[in-house]
Amino acid sequence: MSESKSTTVEVRLPSRMGYEKVAMSTASAVAKLMGFPEDRIEDLKTAVAEACINAIEHGNRLNEKLSVGVVLSAGRDSLEVKVIDDGKGMKTQPSKPDIDRKMHGQEDPRGMGMFLIQALVDEAEWVAGLDGKSSYVRLVIRLDK
């Protein structure tokens, strides 16, 4: 993130499938205000949606008593998005899906969310919460890309 002053927008989502689209819309609106081109906004929307789906489904295990936090920090030349859940976080980094293995039944057809996140934004990191909770994924897209 830029060292300059940033503007923060926060959204809390219920742990319910489909609400990732609220985060997508919010991220899209912030990115538009910052002047990102349309193709980068589409990349961001998919990355944010996948991060929220992971948080809802795997982090919070669809427990509607828990919410997913989405914090968007708009800097001068980059947008950082943190998606926070109450899970224990990721132990391994995402691997690239192998379509040949999937087509031959050697790999689950699912499991592409983290790969898409990493491929579509400029930075992606998964951070486990110190207390085994409040883990988050941090995404960054830059205006100069």
Partner: protein, 147 residues
Amino acid sequence: MTGQVTGHISSIGPPIGHNQREYGDQTIVQSETKSRVDQLISPTGHPVTVLRFEGDIASTSKEAVLGTYQALPKSDVKLILLDFTKVDYINSSGIALVIQLLIEAANADQKVYAFGLSAHFTKVFTMVGITKYAGIFPTQAEAMAAL
């Protein structure tokens, strides 16, 4: 018209809407996926089955995507065209359903093509490797001309 789509035989049944609940008692807020099947004849005379989708393609779309595909008569259907023109949102679960369809089609010796994807989802399909197993065209006319 360029005459690339030479014949429209029939539309099989009304549009089907599916709202499968896969997450217990949760109310799922993704928009319903609708699907419809059309039969066309390519300029070279091959019968082409078009699966037209509308709405979101996500985890709730299993019946609309796989169910619609599995209801096709395998012995008659050899060329399948997936129409994403009216699809705005595809997530990784939706992509997985498309891959499952491609696996089943490959096992049934069927060829699958797609058209109508946005530039973004064309990129995403390319990134995950779907384009290796399904030719992607911008429009129905371009797809039909190539079949």
